[in-house]
Amino acid sequence: MAMQTDAQRAFAEAGNPVPIGMLCELTHRCPLQCPYCSNPIELERKNEELDTSVWTRVLHEAAELGVLQVHLSGGEPAARRDLEQIVAACYDAGLYSNLITAGVNISRERLAALVDAGLDHVQLSFQGATEATTALVSHMPSAHSRKLAFAHEVAQFGLPLTLNAVIHRANIEQIDDFIELAITLGARRIEIAHAQYYGWALANRAALMPSREQTMRAVDKVERAREKYHGRLVIDSVVPDYHARYPKACMQGWGRQTLNVTPAGKVLPCHAAETIPGLEFWNVAEHSLVDIWKKSPAFTAYRGTSWMPERCHGCDRREIDWGGCRCQALALTGDAAETDPVCVHSPWHDEVKQIAEEESVHLIDMEQQAFRYRRPGG
C-alpha cells in the first residue's frame, strides 16, 4: 500500500524516532480566557472527553513507546474530577508527571491528594506580574491572588515549581517583575515564552505583538537576569520568532519527540496542528498509540525530509530546523508545506518582518477591547 511505504520512509528519514514527551490536554474547560490560548478556536466539549480508563491505557502505552515525561494540561486540567487518578496512572506507568495549571481552582486538600498520587512537578502560569495585568489578560479579577496562594501551597508541599509567563505587548515590560516573582515564590525555573501566533493568538495578533525594540529589550533583560540568578533560577526563554533569521526546529522536527493528545483523544504532532486543514488525525479510541506514532497520516505528513519544498530539501539546515513550524508556514503563507517564512531564504521573509513591525506600531494603545477572549464557540 502506498500510504504504508510513505509512512515507513518518513519514519526512517526522521531517524526512527522515539517520543520523549506527551502533552495530555485533559480538557478544554478553563476558568480563564487568555487571548493567546493555544487551544483551538473550536474547543472540544465536556461530553466528548476521554474517560479515566482510556487515559490510563494511553499513559501505559506511552510509557511502553518510550515516553518519559507527561505534561497534564488543558484548558485547566484540574477542571477534571479524576485528575488524581490520572496522576496516579502516570506514577504506575513510571512516567514523570508535570501539572500545567492556571492555579486558580485547586484547593489545599486537592493539592495534597495530587501529591499523594505521585505528582512530580507543577508549572503555574502567570498572565501578568501584577494583579491588574493578570486580571486584564486572564479576564478573572481574583486570578492573581489565587495564584499566589496556590504557589505558596506548592512550596509548602515541597513540590518543585516552574512559573510560566506568556509574553506579549500587555506584559512585556514586566520581564524583571516576573523573574522577581519567581524568586519570591521559590520557583526553581521560569519560562519566558513569547506568544506564538496561531489559533487564538493569531486572531489577537494585532493586540498582542510587541515592537521590535520591546522584544530586544526583553531578550536583554532575560540575559541579565540569567547572570544575576545563575544557579538559583533556571530561566528558559522561547525567543520570539518573527524577528529571527532562521526558524526554530519546531517540536524538534515534526513527529520526532512529542505527541499531543486532545481531550477527545485525537493525537496531534503539535498542539496547533489542527489549524492545518486536510490532516487526518487518528484517535486513541480507535488505534494504539504506537500505531498512531508510527503510521498515522498526520504524523507522516511533515515527518522527515521528503515532504519539503526544494528550498529546504536542498539546504544544509534541513535536519537542524526541519523547515521550521508548519502551523506558522500555513498562517503566514497559506501553505503548510512551505518553508517557515521566518527563514531568510523564504520569499515571504520580508513580509513577515514587516507584519511584525507594522502591527506593533499601529496599535500601541493596549485596550481591553482589543482582545478577543477565548471562549467556547469563539
Binding site: 518510550g66 518519559l68 514523570y96 508535570n98 508549572q123 525555573r189 545563575h230 533556571v234 528558559d236
Partner: protein
Amino acid sequence: MSDQTPSRVPALSRGVRMREDKARGGWVLLAPERVFKLDDIGRAVLEYTDGVRSEAEIIDLLAARYSADRAQIASDVAQFFDGLSQRRVLEFH
C-alpha cells in the same frame, strides 16, 4: 573548589529522579521539563548519591569501584555535582 567541598552532602532535588530509559537504552535523570542522559559514570555517581553520603565518601566508593586515580575522580565528581546544582536538580545538605 575549597578543601571543605568533599564534606558537602549532595542529594537530588525533590521532583528529580533517575530511571532506566529502555526505549532508547541507558539511564536518564528526569527533571522538570528536562531529561539528562547519563553515562555509566554519571549513573554510578548518582547511585551512591542518597542524601546521606558525603561527596568524599562517594569519591572513595568510585575510586574503589573503578580502581582509578582518586584526585581525577574527585575533580570529575565535583564538576558533575556543580553542573547539576547549577541546573537546580541537585542540592547540597
